[in-house]
Symmetry: C2
Subunit: 69 residues, 2 copies
């Protein structure tokens, strides 16, 4: 069980949150995704470690950006 956090830029409303959750949830190994609109905090739980590049790609697929860690 792994947990990783990212900061997502550009989300403005609940629809944005839903889009990010949907895309990140589809990444292999991901078991749970939480997104806080106000802070942009994205928390990803997974069975094992997931390459950050895969999460970043999913966020971009949704139309947003991950802030530099």
């Amino acid at each position: 069980m792994s947990t990783a956090t990212y900061t997502v830029k550009g989300m403005t409303c609940g629809h944005c949150v839903s889009s990010v959750k949907e895309e990140v949830s589809e990444v292999a190994g991901v078991t749970n995704v939480e997104v806080d609109l106000a802070t942009g905090l994205l928390t990803v739980n997974s069975d094992g470690p997931v390459a950050p590049a895969k999460i970043t790609a999913a966020v971009e697929e949704a139309g947003y950006e991950v802030a530099n860690q």
Copy 2:
């Protein structure tokens, strides 16, 4: 053919625009809906006059508000 305009408050992104367009498009008689995110301008084309209350209700159904005219 009638055209009416409204100002919608609270839209922050393209998803919001889509939600408003979808709900307003479902109002009986409405033939075309345009929404400008930057200004909040909602333009409704219809076969004949449509009660403003029906448009306002559709906007609220989408989760937004029509500014006082």
